[in-house]
């Protein structure tokens, strides 16, 4: 009798654990969607400025960006408060082992706390941005301190979603329910894909305004580091064949969304406001140009090098090797910073400017590839270490 009661209690425990996981996965998925909306709204905003123009605070893309972040904040708050209440009531499936204490009041999954902190940082950066615009006028460059602060806060928020998904991967793994097609895995790689896409929000000026950093082309250093960090993190955390490729596939899929939607949204907005396109309009959003089109190749390289490398050496060395080879292979095939010269009408119109930009990049090509390899190794090492932190996260 006592054995029967014991097994029933254990079954209830696993069921409660599963129910709690479903609750957190739904929360993490909604959160991820709203962080994706921030990317989409920003891509729309960037294209609006490059192709049509006038800036003020309450434009449609700004509304999408700020409301996306606000809802991400509300979702984070709801998850933190709801989990705290469940913990205090002693609800099954919500324990000290799967919640993180915060501020001496709350007990909640770490990812939602981190995402909430990212939202607070974003909203404060929004105030900083308004203050800055008061001094400088509207949006003279993407590389202003408040813009960078907004993006970095957004990245912190996405890291929150990464943590929320990763802890569900760890819990599903502990229950022996993990496959590459599992919902937590798809959710996790989607949040990682967002990290690469967020980088593309800040890199466009490295193609248009400030091309070089010393003897190096700046864009490949920034984009290559992000690609190496994220793809190695995917492979080293999931340790499943195809993890990095799946992440890269999602980058490619979301990039496709950014190819299709912003031009339609800008067109609608221009008609709605009765404004003409600028004569030197670009015709697409620069985040598309700044997201490497061949990320899928880098994903395949990371998966191959990481899995084959472990046969001959340690996991960490395999990860670092993958981090060197993936961005180098990527940029050997795909050179968006060169492609930008043809894509930007104002460069194409003036041959001498195009020639000067081309010469600058050509002169920097070999040092740039060397630096991409070194930075790839460093960021892959960081990614592999961070993967271990995530493997020890289930709360």
């Amino acid at each position: 009798m006592s054995a029967i009661t014991g097994s029933a209690a254990a079954l209830t425990g696993v069921d409660a654990e599963r129910r709690e996981s479903t609750f957190r996965l739904v929360g993490a998925s909604v959160l991820t969607f709203f962080w994706f909306l921030l990317f989409l709204g920003t891509s729309w905003d960037i294209m609006w400025h490059s192709d049509v123009g006038p800036d003020r605070f309450w434009t449609a893309p700004h509304t999408m960006m700020y409301s996306g972040v606000a809802v991400a904040g509300l979702v984070s708050l709801y998850m933190v408060v709801a989990t705290t209440v469940k913990f205090r009531r002693g609800a099954p499936g919500v324990t000290k082992a799967n919640t993180t204490p915060w501020l001496g009041i709350f007990r909640a999954p770490l990812g939602f706390i981190l995402s909430g902190v990212g939202v607070v940082g974003f909203l404060m950066s929004g105030g900083f941005d308004e203050f800055w615009h008061g001094m400088y006028g509207f949006d003279v460059t993407l590389w202003s301190p408040p813009h960078v602060s907004l993006l970095l806060s957004g990245i912190v928020g996405v890291f929150g979603a990464v943590y929320a998904m990763a802890s569900e991967v760890s819990r599903a793994r502990a229950r022996g329910e993990l496959r590459l097609s599992s919902v937590p895995v798809i959710g996790f790689v989607t949040t990682l894909a967002l990290l690469i896409l967020y980088t593309s929000v800040i890199t466009p000026p490295a193609m248009t305004e400030k091309l070089l950093l010393g003897p190096f082309s700046l864009y490949p250093l920034m984009a290559g580091s992000a690609v190496a960090f994220v793809l190695v993190l995917a492979a080293a955390f999931l340790r499943m064949p195809g993890a990095a490729t799946l992440t890269a596939l999602l980058v490619t899929a979301i990039r496709f969304v950014a190819v299709v939607l912003p031009p339609l949204m800008v067109d609608w907005q221009a008609r709605f406001e009765g404004l003409p396109y600028k004569p030197d309009k670009v015709g697409f959003t620069l985040t598309v140009l700044a997201t490497p089109a061949w990320t899928l190749l880098a994903g395949v390289v990371v998966d191959l090098v990481y899995s084959l490398g472990q046969r001959y050496t340690s996991r960490m060395v395999a990860a670092v090797l993958a981090g060197v080879l993936a961005p180098v292979a990527l940029f050997a095939v795909d050179r968006p910073w060169f492609r930008a010269l043809d894509a930007l009408p104002w460069v194409a119109k003036f041959g001498n400017i195009k020639q000067a930009m081309l010469s600058a990049h050509q002169g920097a090509l070999y040092p740039t590839f060397a630096a991409v390899a070194v930075l790839g190794a460093l960021t892959a090492w960081l990614g592999a270490n961070f993967a271990v932190y995530l493997r020890y996260t289930e709360k």
Binding site: G121, M135, G137, L152, V156, K210, K278, Y392
Partner: protein, 179 residues
């Protein structure tokens, strides 16, 4: 009653006057540029300009013929790593019959140069505004702005250090079974 009505009308008149008044373009610098057969008047609303601020540029072409196009090359001072920018001028939204550059700003202190290329019925003409003085950026010192900008990174670095300690303890407890 009459006094109240008069007051209300006076307030209404003041408000409508405010609404109708055009803010006008402040001209702090006005210079003529000869671009081949064409003459341009180039006006700035601040002079000297502060780096990275949004400036209102107004360009007027004498005896402008329909279909004329104007392009500008904005050339940074020697020694900066900024890229030269070229752009077609567009119609000024507030001042009909004049041209401007959308989101015009100059990104570093020094003497900038702006070259105009006019394409009209008398062919192509090129002329330049040889010196546009640009001072340092306004407001907060830039180092302070960038320190504020990177606060999320400092916060995240602190978080990662805490994570490192947590994971080290967990690895010590389970012998690195999940590492």
């Amino acid at each position: 009653m009459l006094r109240k009505l008069t007051l209300a009308l006076a307030i209404l008149a003041m408000l409508s006057g405010t609404a109708l008044a055009h803010p006008g373009h402040v001209v702090m610098s006005s210079q003529q540029v000869k671009a081949g057969p064409y003459t341009l008047t180039v006006e700035h609303n601040v002079w000297p300009i502060k780096a990275n601020t949004n400036v209102d540029l107004v360009v007027q072409l004498e005896n402008e013929a329909p279909g004329t196009k104007i392009f500008a090359r904005v050339i940074p001072p020697p020694g900066t790593t900024l890229v030269e920018r070229a752009t077609p001028l567009i119609s000024h939204a507030q001042l009909p019959g004049t041209w401007t550059i959308y989101n015009y700003s100059l990104g570093a202190p020094g003497e900038w140069r702006m070259e105009f290329q006019v394409e009209g019925p008398q062919g192509r003409g090129v002329g330049a505004l040889e010196s546009i003085p640009v001072e340092g950026p306004p407001g907060l010192p830039l180092w302070m702005g960038w320190t504020l900008a990177f606060l999320p990174v400092f916060g995240f670095a602190w978080f990662i250090l805490r994570e490192r300690s947590r994971v080290r303890r967990a690895i010590a407890a389970d012998g690195g079974a999940r590492a």
